[in-house]
């Protein structure tokens, strides 16, 4: 059998080693273009329309404009960061669990964050107080954000504990469902008999990017930059996992440790996003799912593309949430679910037709 391929054959196949390269380049270029468009529109559009020149002047500091620098810019950047986190984490979990229906909240982080925030609200006496005074207790300067973060991380830790580590994927999913349900029940229990709290926590759980602010942008961006190198490490691992867990192990991958790395990175990222923006549904499910259809299942491309796609999706969703019923606002989490649901159905039907 020919062990040494002839030169022409080898040259042509090298070109063919990638899925049509141009398609990948096009997809990434399109995503970056859309992201830029979302940034421009997001800053310019709103209750008060702002011209392009004013935007540039405000961003460069030539003519200060607090609507732009204090309200819109952090909000648009926050939407992009949260969307990127959800898209990236959704893709990572879909690979880890070998399940296209996995989302970043699968191991209980959303329910945990909601529980943490509810506790903070109960202690502070209201959502605005819990977030804006930056102090749940008068003497301890911690905000509801920290409670949300700790709640999310704690819930995932509990899920890991109950499933006896990360080795059995199905146990992880079951434990995640269990932890989520119990925490949701506890949240309900805390909210009983207090209409004010119910509304506060409800406003948080439907997702709202108004809370993010520069604090949130800085914080989420830090976690994002810290965990990003890990995701570069994970592309081949997630690809190998699609062959099945035992086969991936037979390829030499230290799966036990790698799975914990994935869960750890996803948890920190999701917790940081959820703590500031509340629970935003469907972005983490739809972005990776749609891009998988276009790009294929190679996670070395799917992970960064899902991050970009999530950012684009949430930035536009938030723009719509602000513009559709201006001067009022729709909760962005409700909007992503309303738009995401039909889109998901479309993907499902199209997938069936093929």
């Amino acid at each position: 059998m020919a062990l040494r391929p002839n030169p022409t054959q080898s040259a042509s196949s090298r070109g063919g080693l990638a899925r049509p390269l141009t398609r990948r380049v096009l997809v990434f270029a399109a995503l970056l273009g859309l992201l830029l468009l979302a940034l421009v529109l997001g800053v310019a559009e709103g209750t008060v329309k702002i011209g392009a020149l004013e935007v540039i002047q405000a961003v460069t500091g030539a003519v200060p404009n607090p609507i732009i620098t204090e309200l819109r810019l952090p909000r648009v950047l926050g939407a992009m960061l949260v969307g990127a986190v959800l898209g990236l984490c959704g893709a990572a979990f879909q690979g880890l669990f070998r399940n296209p229906l996995a989302d970043p909240y699968l191991m209980g982080s959303a329910a945990g964050a909601a529980f943490g925030v509810t506790v903070a609200v109960a202690l502070a006496g209201g959502l605005t107080a819990a977030f804006s005074t930056n102090a749940v207790f008068e003497r301890i300067p911690v905000s509801a954000t920290l409670f949300g973060f700790l709640g999310a991380v704690g819930a995932v830790a509990l899920t890991l504990l109950l499933s006896g580590g990360a080795s059995r994927t199905n146990d992880l999913i079951l434990a995640g469902v269990l932890v989520s349900s119990v925490l949701t029940s506890l949240t309900t229990l805390l909210l009983l008999h207090d209409a004010n709290r119910v509304f506060s926590v409800f406003a948080y759980t439907v997702g709202n990017l108004a809370f993010v602010g520069w604090d949130g942008v800085r914080s989420i961006a830090t976690y994002f930059l810290l965990t990003l190198p890990l995701f570069f490490l994970l592309g081949r691992t997630l690809n190998a996992l699609s062959l099945g867990e035992e086969t991936a192990r037979s390829l030499g991958l230290p799966l036990g440790r790698l799975k914990l790395v994935i869960i750890g990175a996803v948890t920190l990222l999701t917790a940081s996003a959820v703590a500031y923006a509340g629970i935003i549904g469907f972005v983490g499910l739809v972005a990776p799912h749609a891009l998988r259809r276009i790009l294929g299942g190679d996670y070395r491309y799917l992970l960064p593309a899902s991050a970009l796609g999530g950012a684009v999706l949430l930035a536009f969703a938030d723009l719509l949430a602000r513009v559709l019923v201006a001067p009022a606002e729709l909760p962005v989490g409700v909007l992503t679910t309303l738009l995401g649901g039909p889109f998901f159905l479309y993907l499902m039907w199209r997938g069936r037709a093929r």
Binding site: R4, N239, S242, L243, S250, L251, G296
Partner: protein
């Protein structure tokens, strides 16, 4: 006491229990490079467990697996992945990867988490796709291939690591007769590549062209030898019952099912 083993992949007096229930009891076996070994036995005989023990995915409670004079447990997982390849019959396959992307994963033991493919990797990938006749399928998604095509791509994935030993768990289980024959001849051809192949099989007839047949029942080795010796009516009936008939056809044993006597 374990000895250093002969050249090859040696299982020495291995016992394995799953939650206290013995699955393998004192099994010894050798797989040499360039030979095709068929592992037969009824359901629950411990075939798949033995395969996983040989692949280093399960650690036996007693006994040893020795790979080329060195205990398998002493190899790093990457080294083990370079020497041993494994094809399971779990039905798991990467739906959204193309055939080529799938085969490329076979180079993981050489590349680690981040390494980039070099000339040697590309040659191995090309060779694996050529041997399995999957080069024409390279851009097709695995979810769009027929069962036979997909199985050949998954075999190419296993071969792309240029393993010395290849362990296949019922590789023909879901294939029709044509594809069974095709796959069997493919496996037979791997002997010429100096690969030691072990296939777990359900159908004794598929084992006729193997070099040696190992018969496992109740976690114990019942027989090892040439197909003509092992595939005898007495042995097969003792395991499968009185339905089994063995007839000679052109000098080879053919296993048939009749009614119970």
């Amino acid at each position: 006491m374990r000895d250093r083993g002969t050249e090859g992949l040696c299982v020495q007096d291995v016992s394995f229990a799953y939650r206290g229930k013995p699955v393998l009891e004192g099994v010894s076996l050798e797989l040499h490079r360039g030979e095709w070994l068929a592992l037969l036995g009824p359901n629950g005989a411990g075939k798949s467990t033995l395969l996983r023990v040989m692949a280093g995915l399960l650690v036996p409670q007693s006994g040893w697996v020795v790979l080329e004079h060195q205990p398998l447990a002493q190899y790093s997982s990457w080294e083990r992945g370079q020497k041993l390849a494994f094809l399971l019959q779990t039905g798991a396959f990467p739906e959204d990867l193309t055939a080529l992307e799938t085969v490329r994963l076979g180079r993981t033991p050489y590349l680690g988490l981040l390494g980039r493919e070099g000339k040697e990797d590309l040659e191995a990938i090309q060779w694996a796709m050529k041997v399995t006749q999957t080069a024409a399928l390279r851009e097709r998604l695995l979810s769009r291939l027929s069962g036979g095509e997909r199985q050949r791509v998954l075999l190419a994935r296993a071969l792309a690591g240029r393993p010395r030993y290849l362990l296949l768990d019922e590789p023909t289980a879901h294939l029709d007769l044509h594809h069974q024959a095709e796959f069997s001849s493919l496996v037979a051809g791997l002997r010429a590549e100096d690969i030691g192949v072990l296939t777990v099989l359900h159908d004794p007839n598929l084992a006729r062209t193997a070099d040696r047949v190992v018969f496992l029942a109740g976690g114990k080795l019942k027989a090892v030898g040439a197909p003509a010796e092992v595939l005898n009516e007495e042995l097969l009936r003792s395991v499968y019952g009185d339905w089994v008939r063995v007839r000679q056809l052109e000098g080879e044993p053919v296993v048939l099912l009749g009614g119970p006597r």
